[in-house]
Subunit: 278 residues, 4 copies
């Protein structure tokens, strides 16, 4: 029996849970997990329902759209593994962690390819039998490089683009092409230490805690909706380089946890924030 995830985001009104679950009940579907949240400030309703049963998706969708408010956002999909392409530069720790998870199916995804703006990580990627594309950014404009990346990506039918320590800033045009599909790991506890060299910034400020942030990428650098964050304690005895070393383990785990939440369709983006049903 197939498993489906229904996701609804719409203006809040009385009876939404009742009306939605009525349709599922009348279609003899079995709810396995059901979560709702109302953003009271914005009067917005979010619902995620995992159910199983025999169903014609299009029919359920039509029934649901009839009872939902106008301009509702509705998703209803059969469970499927997410296809991703990873962009990386020279640092291996997030990429290698994802390659291993892919190899052992520890995360419900499928790495189609890795694109590097350096060739440095090719041996690692090829160990795992994943295609590696080296697209140098040297001696060309940001736009020209992105055109090459984009061209390369055309051959892949991807759900998400993962920036696994990809050390280049993307243009608004590129981001727009992959709206709500790009996930980045930033090596600080955002919004602290936006921009370059966050560990150096953290060292200079003398913080006692450092962290990492996985977020969707939007036009504002390091300002997209946050998916997951975690931190570790540091002391005066760690210099910027040692902080960076200690931070790597946080980065890779934060990225993997964020991807798990996204791949399980637990994450809603609403304005510049996320609603996450754990």
């Amino acid at each position: 029996m197939s498993q489906y995830t229904l996701r609804i985001a719409c203006s809040d009104e009385k009876g939404l849970v009742y009306k939605v679950t009525k349709i599922l009940y009348q279609n003899q579907l079995n709810i396995e997990k059901n979560d709702e949240f109302v953003d009271a400030e914005n009067n917005h309703f979010f619902m995620r329902t995992v159910f199983s049963g025999d169903v014609i998706l299009q029919n359920i969708k039509e029934e649901l759209l009839k009872i939902l408010p106008e301009n509702s956002h509705l998703e209803l999909k059969e469970h499927h593994q997410k296809n991703v392409v990873i962009l990386a530069t020279k640092e291996h720790h997030c990429l290698s962690d994802l390659l291993v998870r892919n190899e052992y199916n520890d995360l419900d995804f499928n790495i189609l390819a890795v694109i590097g703006n350096h060739d440095f990580l090719r041996p690692l990627v090829e160990k795992f039998g994943i295609p590696f594309h080296y697209i140098s950014a040297e001696n060309m404009s940001r736009e020209s490089h992105e055109d090459l990346v984009n061209e390369c990506l055309q051959q892949y039918n991807l759900d998400y683009l993962i920036l696994a320590k990809y050390m280049r800033i993307l243009t608004p045009e590129f981001i727009q092409d992959y709206n709500q599909k790009i996930i980045n790991i930033h090596h600080s506890f955002l919004p602290a230490f936006i921009g370059a060299n966050p560990y150096k910034q953290a060292y200079n400020r003398g913080v006692k805690i450092i962290g990492a942030t996985a977020h969707f990428v939007t036009n504002d650098l390091d300002e997209g909706p946050i998916i997951y964050q975690d931190v570790i304690q540091v002391s005066h005895s760690k210099n910027a380089k040692e902080m960076a070393y200690a931070g790597k383990d946080v980065e890779k785990i934060v990225l993997a946890k964020a991807l798990k939440l996204v791949f399980e369709e637990r994450v809603f983006i609403f304005r510049n924030k996320t609603i996450i049903f754990e």
Copy 2:
């Protein structure tokens, strides 16, 4: 308009959410928060719904009982402040934290009285205008002491009995009288270091992390359903006394967080575990 909390625990079956929310919808009630959980292993369903509106509680209850499976556990109450009595011995840190929260309404409860088996904490309690009863346990049996405590408690209409570092073991009879109403703070990360002197045990074992556990009290000492736990890191440089000092802050915060969850009716007890809707 009044706010109500509906809590249901019953065997799982198809359509429960639909049937329950239908009744709420037909009575024109406004759901503010709705959570469900199915314990798949035991096929048991849990639901907590906060709603507001004009309602005759008895009618709603009857309607709900008609559509729920037999032997369902159903609670439906208007929001009210919980009344508690605190038992303490000589350590002040959990008690003082609760007295301050009570004074400033930082926790949705009302401390009716404090009972001490020593007179030591009287000055603290009386600063806050709360009755303090000194019931010494010296020169008498455990049962005789509990009879005195019980007698004292008769004058109070209490929802919960809080053991705020109460250093006496309760008899099964006493516990039975306050079934699912006694909450204790244990000064270890249970189930590690059950019993006396957990910090001494932790020091001797050389652990790198210590913690505290708030739990409901059942007949098995330190074995009741866990509500909340937290930990802090320690190093070899802390002796047992210093661990105990550092642990006090964890204990008081863990107890307060657990009480908040319980007072907001977020905690279900099922067998020896808790389901908690946060």
Copy 3:
């Protein structure tokens, strides 16, 4: 037998530990705890030694100054309880936590008085027999208000001035008068959310972690040397007010931990950072 703490900060050079411990050994003093740190980037040496024995402090100091580099910072004091005055406004949680610790000697300090720019916290303070001074800031300049505060402080021989949720910005002149003696608790994980309403800022940004920071106060608002920080996880379901509530427990514990470190003379300030020997 008395206990002393020796603190040295100076340019690093070979043999410092040897030369210092030689003097202590020749004076038959017993080292109980010894910590050193070298800031390699700035070639600066820090040492903290706790020792006991019979000693004429002035003689030891003179011996030490002979072997230390020029411009060394040297402190050598017999152990003593720190005297503090607390500034507060309307929020009680940090203040009440400190009042209770003072009452039970849970922190090695002595609260001489509390000054409020509102009269709201007087009943709490007076419960514990501590003088409360209400110095309203209404209808006067910042400087005039600080003059009154300063005048009030003259009667107290204080080691530290604690800002326990004191909701006023201090002038550089006031801060200069109490250089390295003012400790503040800021309700965010600095440097994130500097300035007013950090919980509102955190809510708007959609962070998944909030925190608190205890720091020395310098002229740059929220930019002084950080002593201690801690965080808790939050979810989309918490609004700004609930974040603020959850954050209060972090704030009070972070402030108390920072004060413990400072009172035990474990904290060195060097440029805009702290070196802390735990």
Copy 4:
């Protein structure tokens, strides 16, 4: 210029730091990091000094032994990469994490080989060009299997033997052969949930926190000196299998952090505990 680590553990007496640093100073050695700890309860002194300079190790050792109490434990070694062999079974997550760190020199060690009691992990290990020895334990006694493992290990000159989710209990004889050289990762916050299936135990107990523990292996199963521990929060919604999944990330990071501490010679074993200079 070479870097050396000096480690001393002995009965405490006055002047030890002075006497040791005097020898280092007279030999014109440059102390880069110096830590001491006195276990007051047992009157035992621990010191770790990292220094650089030109030195004949044997001479320094002899000088030191002259001034140290009898039965002192003294180690003085030039910095060197640690050689390890890893034992594993079927779970890959700790092993793959270590293989990647080895590949990129993220941890100061050298994996000589991996031994599996199943052949399952061979492809992973061979991707990284590390020898994999499959030594099945089927149809033979524990002793016979260990004889084969031991025989295999003879070809390697190892500093440490890492149990990376090795699902077999070792005999006291085997452990004795590698005294203080075997490091294990246990998938619980020890001493909670000793023995088999700790996640199942944790699920059954309804804990709100799970963890992992890296420890030296001694004859008492799961009772050896603890090096590092960490935890994560879980809720009622996670079953035993999901707890195990979430726990894997903690396990691999805890093991790597413990190994870093050990490889940097920061860990002293004293009786059944560790003293760790971070």
